[in-house]
Symmetry: C2
DNA sequence: ATCCGTGCAAAATATTTGCACGATC
DNA sequence: GATCGTGCAAATATTTTGCACGGAT
């Protein structure tokens, strides 16, 4: 039923790469371009929408006004470098533990959370 | 040196109100309008920029694509209701404690963080 | 023949800036 | 008279949608 979709395939392939997280649409497009897979911004966008509906990708908000995507899977938090924009992962969820106490103090029923840590990455720390 | 600025004053007054957090520009404008203080969107925006530069206001990202502002001051986290958009405050910072461990495991030097908790507020929980 | 993937361009959403006018200093 | 606050409209930045074409089924 499915026809070849080189754009979508290439997008999925990049999302699955565990060494990068929080791709913006533009970053994906640029990376595709460098791999000789020219694709329209809207095609990348639609690929992401579809991959998200299929449960392959998930959209994450990293608080910089850009839509970012990564492979859906284990929950984790992100650290974003405020200098170069690089995104890394914090494997442990430090929010879970506090959830009960927060629900009690606020009256909210918690469903999800987004934690973005901001700082300087090791590379940028080494610079002046 | 400063001339009367009813828009900016009214904006600041609302930000300082401790019963509301995370105002969007549009919410502020609507609230001003109801208080018979018609103001242009851009005037509210510029008031916020100025108030932020003065250290009175701070911009917070609550992950819904809108710029949100509140009085600068004590650090705290936010809970946003996914149904009605209402924003409340979580006084305690649950991130501080984990910061050291995160810096060690990621190599980042942490400078700030944004935690947005998502769920249902007490009012919406009471609805069907 | 139909359906789906793609590119191109326009719409939609939200923020930011340019310009002119009038009020305040 | 110069400066600052404001409204109006245009410029940006990004995401989202409409449309048409062409290839795969």
């Amino acid at each position: 039923m499915s026809r070849p979709s080189h754009v979508r395939d290439a997008v999925a392939e990049r999302l699955l790469d565990p060494s990068r997280h929080g791709w913006t649409i533009e970053e994906l497009q640029r990376d595709l371009h460098q791999a000789k897979i020219p694709a329209d911004y809207s095609s990348v966008f639609r690929s992401l929408v579809l991959l998200e509906r299929r449960g392959v990708a998930q959209r994450v908000e990293l608080g910089d006004g850009k839509a970012r995507y990564e492979a859906s899977g284990e929950h984790h938090e992100h650290v974003r470098c405020e200098r170069c924009g690089d995104v890394s992962v914090v494997p442990d969820c430090i929010v879970e533990e506090a959830a009960d106490e927060i629900e009690r103090s606020t009256g909210f029923r918690l469903q999800a959370h987004r934690l973005v840590l901001l700082g300087l990455c090791p590379d940028c720390l080494a610079l002046p």
